[in-house]
Symmetry: D2
Subunit: 364 residues, 4 copies
């Protein structure tokens, strides 16, 4: 299914940037998972544009639950989340209709949907759909936290500025509520300065995120084809602007020897651990019981204010555009809660498969 992800717990994303709403349907949610609007909004707020480093389009983004929730708990029937689009300005986009913006989905969407697409504001391709994805993920994250599983993401690199690597056992709490999630505030300030400079130049920036998941038992996943890496990557690459995903030492493995890359086992407090975690908590596609660690690269936002070459789809002639409207000089920080959300969806699905839906929820 094109727009659905998951097996036992599935998420379907619907809506367009300038239509009446964006939304998500969660099917397979166990009964009795607490649906705490405040908790969901906490994650969603970190995704929302804010301040000078973000688009001027502001939305209150308060999720409405149209089905599957009763008295603050999931019923177990399909859970529908709707986020109304409020601050819609179609006119910004009208004049772009025939001149696809480079590295946006305007052209590919036009071919895929044969001219019937609602291209305004990016339509179904808009980053706005990640608001609904984040809401769905926040519910899954709550469910996982009841099992002692925690997820956190920080900006490992933005342009040429690096944050220090995450120590999953120490650093995760500090990241929970940060709108600009970095471990070193000093480096974070340098990153923000980079973003402000890019904004002044009408340009945009990309970066690399690092995510960790703790509290997972060993033994979840499958070798072919539903490895934990496969499922995470499947979902992560659906997040707009993600162009690379790697686990543990990732692309650094190319320069390592087996003797450096292998993670030796040891017994600690009666439990089997690995002394290093180069493989990011996954061997043979299955969790080792160590933190699952991965990186995602976020490409620079394609919307820039600098003139760009493109074509006119009607006249089939070369032309130039300069994108006005409202956009972000970097979405790297705003992507963090989306990555957390997607990660939560993947593990919620995997664990429901392993332990059954009756094992979860029942919180009242």
């Amino acid at each position: 299914m094109n727009n659905t992800f998951g097996r036992n717990l599935t998420v379907t994303l619907v809506g367009e940037s300038h239509g009446p709403m964006v939304g998500a349907v969660i099917d397979g949610m166990p009964s009795g998972v607490r649906i705490d609007e405040k908790e969901i909004m906490t994650l969603m707020d970190r995704r929302r544009p804010a301040g000078k480093t973000a688009t001027a389009r502001h939305e209150s983004d308060i999720p409405q639950f149209l089905s599957g929730v009763k008295d603050g708990y999931s019923t177990g029937t399909p859970l529908t989340i709707m986020i109304p689009n409020e601050n819609v300005r179609r006119s910004d986009y009208d004049r772009l209709a025939d001149t696809p913006r480079p590295s946006h989905a305007d052209y590919t969407g036009h071919i895929r949907y044969r001219g019937y697409e609602d291209a305004s504001g990016g339509g179904h391709f808009s980053g706005r759909l990640t608001a609904a994805l984040t809401a769905a993920g926040a519910i899954c994250m709550h469910m996982l936290e009841q099992e002692g599983i925690h997820i956190a993401t920080h900006i490992l690199r933005l342009a040429d500025i690096e944050d220090r690597p995450m120590d999953p056992l120490k650093d995760m709490d500090a990241l929970k509520d940060k709108a600009f999630p970095v471990l070193s505030d000093e480096q974070g300030e340098k990153m923000l300065e980079k973003i402000r400079t890019a904004a002044r130049e009408n340009d945009s920036l990309g970066g690399i995120l690092e995510t960790a998941v703790t509290g997972l038992e060993a033994g979840t996943g499958d070798p072919f084809f539903d490895t934990v890496e496969s499922l995470l990557a499947h979902a992560l690459f659906a997040v707009p602007a993600v162009k690379g995903v790697s686990f543990g030492s990732g692309f650094g493995f190319a320069d390592m020897k087996g003797s450096q890359a292998n993670d030796p086992y040891a017994v600690k407090d009666g439990k089997i651990i690995t002394l290093t975690n180069h493989n990011g908590g996954i061997c043979g596609g299955i969790t080792t019981g160590m933190p699952v660690c991965f990186q995602t690269v976020i490409r620079p936002t394609p919307s820039i204010g600098i003139p760009q070459s493109t074509v006119n789809l009607k006249t089939m002639e070369n032309t130039q555009i300069r994108i006005g409207g409202r956009h972000d000089p970097a979405i790297v920080h705003r992507a963090c809660p989306v990555i957390d959300a997607v990660t939560a969806i993947v593990f919620a699905d995997l664990l429901i498969g392993r332990y059954g839906y009756e094992h979860f929820g029942g919180e009242r």
Copy 2:
């Protein structure tokens, strides 16, 4: 489904390293696709261990078609490929039963399958299953070639040696039949020397592969969740040892500005192209019509002859192992045809969805 991949064309992998066979079932294969054993063997031979840079376990690996093939063409009903295991030496592995090899799937498989797994030779996790995967992919590759779609992979980097980047429009033919697929034979020789050194040191090496797919029309894929990146990554991360996948400029996007990362459109010979291809032929999860380009990182083979720390699962005590048996100092080159195969499966499935199964096959 754990061990099945695809929607309209699916591949299921079965078998264990030291069981009677490894195999694949392809369901949804269009009727009348030529099943040329020689063509299939050409791709499979590149995956087979050969010479001094490979395991001493040799298998003839001749695929048998148990169903779905008649008179050299696919019938359209499930196509079963069986590759008998011949050169099986269980004894090599018996003494490892209770001491999981670091960064193999021994431990995670033991937990996942609760002690019932056939761990010998890696069991279902063995790289040997990629023989069946490659056979299945070779059939899909033939089907795509009838549509003018071509796939090739080379070793972009092994340890610290780099091949020159691929120019998809010029370099692909040269890679088709190479057992050690590089564009610069000089750099290839340096890589081989590195592998020989690692073998002498009882150690192993990793590397980065670069793949290109040409001949794809614009408009294939979906934004959420079945982006072309998502589907490729899902399948690629099921290949043992793959720990990272990136598209186009990949992790390099972190250091680029939007103005550098965007691919401007232009009209050329009445067709829309992009002047650069930083996004690897995919925008919004959908093909642009430019070559699809991606990188995969292959971690160093975990089987090394150097003593390693591990635990005894029965006594729960720390211990050491030294892996004997037969293994590869590097599988980077042998992974190339597997990546090609997996890529072919993904695009065969995607295109059958777009154009219908009746569009393909019918070669007689």
Copy 3:
């Protein structure tokens, strides 16, 4: 996926009887299918309760398209249909909370959803969800009609009154707009009289529907496990109150010999036909090119005004209930457009698989 049906075109049903809405998400809809609200309402109106033979709960049931529709055509991205619930009277159901109504889903839903279900008015189990299903099916039916495929259903039997069997080539047009779809108006009047009598007795009635699909080419379907019968039955048994599905001569086959049950082939106007159609247009799970014909049995509405034995779930004691509220003495006639809708969804999905999504839509 529990609440999703289909492979290439999927429908997900959401909502509860007394929640804010019921709805459907169609994913995989080809681009450029005309979305004609009037046409959709025509089918939906036949499902709506009306007159003396139906529940007194009246809803305007005007579908709102929250996504996937632009300027009257499907975009190709997920199409969300929302039908607000207006005439909600929760109080009718409150006193039933602990005493499950016999042969409703109150008890089974209570166990399945562990007490978290929204049981009011049947919740997610309510026949009201078929309003959204019918809207989704009406869009698919329009798509099929562009291909010359037509679907019609009539009441073959209600209590002991029989309509004459349908001749698919002659009778289908006459059934299109009938609120009480029978071929013999005289028999229809007798059925209505039966319903009125049952209503007076606070009881309810069931019946058998006969459906035909014309215009299908030979060759659609698969032997294992996605036979046309399998897919239709899967979807039909999801319609509340359906307890039996049979094809062609159906249960009558038990009393036939092979020589009577086989459908001989013949050439007519250069086309292969069968001289009889005992197998209901399907052999080996695949369409023969003759009309697809099947029967569904609709059990009597479980809501009756007569006192019934049940249990109190809190005290675990036997007790009696008498269901007040608003309900239908028969839903047999109202089920006809729902069966049509479900049938349209199944064939839309099958044909998109066969010919590809690009083959359909593009109506502008």
Copy 4:
């Protein structure tokens, strides 16, 4: 997926009647389910042709386990069952190649697979594939029996001879080992006489089977679209010759009133039961905890020795055929273990979804 059934536990059927084998792949089998060849053969033997009332084609049908089994237990990785075809006589079928047998899948398969099908002996459509299906089901049945769940099927009607209806709580054991499963041996003898007469007349007979499943807890299934009825019917209609499926009172509901059709609840021994079971143990698509009861109609075998009208596909002219070869005058009795097998697969899948795969197996 065309040839795969299930979500958490899936079965894929492969092979052709006159190819090297027929087989099944079970994916998602929990680890540590006992694979007892004798137990599997017991069910398979009841499906095998035997005596005068069956085809003269005899096969030993001993299943080989090519993967997923170790030391008599399922490993948890894909389990491959292969049943070699031994007694193959292609010549019987050669002269039928261009003249499709009425109500077989010859013609529909020819169109579906565009002439590339292996039509010999029915090819992939052959009843022989149910040997593999039965083997797969026998394993699932064993798994369910560990949970106290039992399945049995008898011939309720053959031609105009009726067996007495099954009382699930008393009659099931008696049916377990019967090659001709009836409750009244006297009626069974009459049925056999009917079959012998049909055989002498070169004709064939059909019948109705009744199946019961006991030991199921309340609360398994989903309202839309994966009702227990939907899933069972999906799988049952894939069994060749099944043309109708009904639950509980089935088509008899048409003549019942709500007051007769409803099953009142009562408390018995501290457990909630229904006093009647007209709904066949399923309400709202979910199990009630009472036995699940359903009927399937088996059409008369299409292979008859009487001359029949057909067409020549090459010349497109009307012609006659008389089918020689080896076939059954009735497969009604042989279908019983196949129905049991299919039922076991459906419930194994459903229960793994509810309780998780870790809940099952682990028998050693």
